[in-house]
Each structure stands twice: as C-alpha cells, then as structure tokens.
C-alpha cells in the first residue's frame, strides 16, 4: 500500500507487519509520555530524586545519549573534513542517530528541570561563567545543525524528491554539507567538553573536581575525546542491530572496519589519557582534599572499585585493543563484543561523573545516600528510546539511509 513511498530497488516488509511493530513501540512511547505529563503537571516529586541525588537517572541518560550520539559529529568530521570517502555509506545513519540522540537529550532536559516553563531563562539570564550555559547554547545550536543535516535525507524520499524544489534543495544542501559538518564538529567540541566541564569545575566535590588548562578542567577534553572515540561504536552497534532486525546487510565490511579502526585508535589514546587523569587525580588532586582513592569506592552498597574497572578496563582497554587489531575487527563476534563494551564503558563514565559525584559524602560526618529511580523516571528515560526506534524504522523504510543496500541486496525477481 505504501510502496510508492519506499525507495526504488529495495524490499521492505508488509505495511501490516510494519504497523504492528510501530504500534507496539508506540505503546511504550505513550507510557513514557504519560510519565512525562505526570512530571510536568505534578512536579519532580514524581521521581525518587532528593537533595542528595538532585542529578540522577535523567542527567545520566542525557550525558550518555550525547556521548553515544557523538558518532554524528565525528563521522561527519571524518567524512567531510578529513576526506574519508568510504564513510559516505554510513554518514546518513550516523546523522539520523545523532539527530535522535540530541533531540532526546533536549526532551529529557525539558522534563528534568523543576520549572520547564522557565527553561528559556538559561538563554535570557545566561551566566557566561557556567558550563551549563555553554552546554545549553551549543546543544541547541548543534541540534539545529543536525536538523539541517537530516532535512536533505527526508527530501530524498521518493515522492518528495519528485517536487523540483525539494529535489534541488536536497542536492544543494548536500553540496554545502561540509560547512555544516565543520560547524557541527566545532559546536560538538565545545558542548561535549562543557559537559565534561560541568563535573570538572565542581571544586566543592573532590570526586569530580579536576585541575586543567585555564578555565577548562581535564574532563572538558576527556569528554570531547571520549564522545569522538565511543560515538562511532554506537553508530556501528545500531547498524549491526538494524542488519539483524531487517535480515539484510546494509553497509559493506570495509566501511564498518574503517570506522571501527578509527574508533579503536581513538579509544586507546583516550583511555591512556583517562588513566593518566585518574592517576593524577588519585595521587595529587584527591589527597589535597583529604581523600584517598578508596574513600570514593567504599563504605556503600553500590559504588565499589568494580565500577572503575568496568569503565576503564572492560569498557575501554578491551574494546580498544580489539578494534585496533585487524583480526579483532574482522571477527564478527569480537567486533560486536567490542562495540557493545565500548558503549557500556562510556555510559559508565557518564554515570559516575554525575551520580557518584553527588553520592560521595564530602563532609566527614555526612552519609552515603543511595537512590533507586521511580517508574516515572524509568518510563521517561525509555520514552526517547521508543521515539528513536520509531524514527529509525520510519527513516529506514521510507528514506535512502543506506546507499549500499541496493547493491548488497539485489532483488532477483
């Protein structure tokens, strides 16, 4: 029934099957919307956050999706600025994932603030010294850039592209996309960094506080680096997931391996810097505040040293080593293991940099408080996942997201 909208030369499932799938995901989405409305109408008392966990699940989800969505800016940078032409076969999907991640981040932020109707105050009464102000400005601007990058893809829909204006607009936007990719890379550098700075400048919180260059703590650079390193792994993992769900190969191995290789080297260099940062923090910064490393990882039921091992070794060194070796990249199991571990690694990093920061008692007579999110928080965190699944499904079905799909899956009849 919708065959006129589907790109030529590719096969899609029946509309009924597709509708059923979208319907199931929409039910999850509506559950999230209901929880979101509860938070907006009744307030943040719907959550299990408290004065010791003012930053909690949502802010982690925010930071995590932004790090994982970093695949968009870094792949764009590699494709348009560095000139890695093979990546043109995955850039559309990277942009789509980035667009979903950033729109999700903005949505979560809109739920997370206590007075959503005053959200614009961050722009109107901007405190230029606050890292969060920089985050807000860059995030909004970069979302605009991602929208501009996504529009030509929408305009390439078979029916829309028949309209001469849309056809020419899409063509011309593609022609100047390098400018937007460069703008996106520039904006991303700052806002990924300022997200790292959000934690790093907290000189009252020895778990987060880092020294640095001028106003920028080390975490500023580590966050940018890690988003560039781990973001492509998320793009790759979702590519593999979509290939699994659709039962088709969508991107050629050489493209996947190239991105995996670059990501691997970025992860390895990042993790060396991260280890150096951790070492300096544990040996110099924290002791100056009267803390030993284990003060941050003991006397509580959850935040043990395992979390540091999970982040650096299991989610950093191991995937990095797999991805930089040709054998690792070519072995399907190892490749998938590595990109999943990498996604876990960066997510754990974002978790500790927001939640553990506030959980660690700073006053010597204070307590380690624990926190379990309420169902409303969980539902509103799953909401953008459901929204993302729907947008990926719609885009995959109706837009030419994967340029190699036709070649890899020729229609025989």
């Amino acid at each position: 029934m919708d065959s006129a909208l589907i790109p030529k030369g590719v096969q899609r499932c029946s509309l009924g099957k597709f509708t059923l799938f979208i319907g199931a995901v929409s039910a999850v989405l509506l559950w999230g919307v209901y929880a979101m409305l509860l938070c907006w109408l009744k307030g943040l008392n719907q959550t299990n956050m408290n004065d010791y966990y003012g930053f909690a699940l949502w802010i982690w989800a925010d930071l995590a999706v932004i790090a994982l969505g970093g695949g968009a800016f870094f792949t764009g940078f590699l494709r348009y600025i560095v000139g890695k032409n093979e990546l043109k076969n995955i850039i559309n999907y990277a942009v789509l994932i980035g667009f979903i991640c950033y729109s999700s981040a903005l949505l979560i932020l809109a739920i997370d603030i206590g007075q959503p109707l005053r959200g614009w105050f961050i722009f109107w009464h901007a405190n230029v010294h606050s890292m969060l102000t920089e985050v807000a400005f860059c995030l909004s601007c970069y979302f605009g850039v991602l929208t501009i990058e996504y529009i030509p893809l929408v305009l390439e829909n078979r029916q829309l592209n028949k309209v001469p204006f849309f056809h020419n607009l899409a063509h011309n936007m593609h022609e100047v996309m390098a400018v937007f990719a460069a703008t996106g890379a520039f904006l991303s550098f700052f806002h990924q960094g300022s997200l790292g700075g959000v934690a790093g400048v907290l000189f009252g919180r020895p778990f987060a506080y880092r020294e640095g260059v001028f106003i920028w703590p080390w975490t500023f650079f580590l966050f940018t680096w890690s988003a560039a390193a781990y973001g492509p792994c998320f793009t790759l993992s979702l590519t593999k997931l979509l290939e699994k769900v659709s039962g088709k190969k969508l991107v050629k191995d050489n493209v996947v391996e190239l991105l995996a290789k670059i990501s691997g080297w970025m992860i390895i260099t990042y993790i060396i810097a991260k280890i150096a940062d951790t070492w300096y923090w544990a040996a110099v910064t924290a002791p100056e505040g009267g803390f030993t490393l284990m003060d941050f990882y003991s006397n509580n039921p959850l935040y043990g040293i395992w979390i540091l091992v999970l982040e650096i070794v299991i989610g950093g060194i191991i995937p990095g080593l797999i991805l930089i070796t040709e054998t690792g990249r070519k072995n399907k199991f190892l490749l998938i293991t590595a990109i999943i571990l990498a996604c876990i690694g960066v997510s754990v990093n974002r978790w500790v940099m927001v939640l553990q920061v506030m959980a660690v008692p700073v006053m010597s007579f204070d307590i380690w408080a624990m926190y379990i999110p309420s169902w409303q928080e969980v539902a509103t965190t799953i909401l953008p996942v459901a929204y993302g699944v729907i947008l990926v499904a719609l885009s995959y079905r109706y837009l030419p997201i994967f340029p190699q799909e036709r070649e890899l899956n020729p229609i025989t009849d």
Partner: protein
Amino acid sequence: MSKAQEHNKAKKYGMVIDLDKCTGCGACMVACMAENNVPFKKDESDKLLSITWMKVYKLTNGKDFPDADICYLPRPCQHCEGQHSGHSPCVSVCPATATDYSTDTGIVSQIYTRCFGCRYCMAACPYHARHFNWWDPVWPAGMEKMLSPDVSVRMRGIVEKCSFCFHRYQRAKDKAYMEDRRELEEHEYQTACTQACPAGAIIFGDLNNPDHEVHKIAQPDPGHHGRPKNPNAFRLLERLGTNPKVYYLSSREWVRKAGDNYLKTEKINKH
C-alpha cells in the same frame, strides 16, 4: 575614616558558631523555619526531602564509654566566597544567574523567580545547604496568616537556601535610613537563629568590622582568604577553597578535625 568612606566600605557578614556551647536543642532550626516561611510536609520522615535552611548535625568521636563524646553542629548556608570574590561553588555554576554573590555584604543570594530548577548549584555545594522544592508549599489551615510578609514563599521546582535573614538587613537599613543614618549597629542586623539560640552559641556580624564579635572571635586572616587565626576556630572543608563565612569554634581537637577530611597519615595543619 569619614562617614562617607565608612558607608562605602564593603561588609562581609558572617557567623561564628561555638560548638562547645551548642546543646543541639534545634531552636535555631525552628526559628529559621518560622522566620523564613520554610515549607514542610505532613510526613517529614525522609530527611533527604526536607527543606532545612539550618540543619543540626550530630557528630560523635566514635569512642566507647567513658570516652564517648558528642557534638552538635548547626549548618546554615556557608555563604562561600571562593578563592576570588564571588567564586562560590554554587554561584559560579548557576546557568541563569539565579544565585549571586554580593560584594557589598558577602551574602550569597537566591533569586527564586529566576531559578528554573536545574539543581546544578546543589551538585556544586558540598554542604547540602541547598534544597529543592519537590512540592508546592501547603500550609495547615490558618497557618498562612502566620507567615512572614517580608519573605516570599517559594514555589515548586526551584532551589532555596539560607539567606542570612537578608530581609532583616533590608529592614534595618530602611530604619537607619529613616533615622538619617547610613551605618548599622551590630545588634541591628541579627539572624533569627542567632537570636533564638538559648545558649548564645551563634554569633553574627560583620567579619570586616574589628569591633564586631565575629571578627574578634574568628580573627579572619585576609592574607589567607579569611582563614581563622584563632586556633580553636575552623571552617568546614577549609582545604577545598570554598572560603566560607561561617566559622566554628571548639576547644576539642576531634571536633575541629571533623570539620575537614584528612588522610590517615596526615596531621591537622591549619595554621
């Protein structure tokens, strides 16, 4: 010093709390809540959701009888200055300039109508002095008539904290102005907790004024960001560089040591 010069001289309002005198009665907490229209819930059992501009902590030396000792530590907002004027942990991070540092008074303010509830200031404050309004305040029937008309009631979704009863400063300044004076006497501006403390453990005044009690007791060293010269005085988390304006006083070493974090191998080296 001429009157005009005296008038222009910046104040630095601060507090000294004598922990050897504090009995932990909680009168300061009650006075603070009543004075500042601090809202409360029907069920206040979860203290992580309670709004306590002034909170009294119970400290112990961890020893068994007969060496056991306890200390009660009242904790208002510390009105930090940071390493340079106004670089308080909370002020420097607020994205909407909803919290501000006054170089005229040294008081860290909170603009409730500008705060949009991002809670970054709470993440920045190591003293847990900032509280979020998780609910809209609801007062028991009739009680709203008892609310102070000088202090605005805060709505749901914003952060609030101790203001050193700033409305009392404004009122005292207004009174002085009407009496054709520009300078306040020490007793004219006092916080509610100071006046309510039955043990006289809380002392409030201008740390920059050598005639004020707080200055005499704390003996702030301007060359070291106001670090107290009095060997029995200390500030919470001194080494983090928050440079608070609340000083604590105790003759007991374990109490002074509890004010900051030290490595096991480390000795207190305050002065």
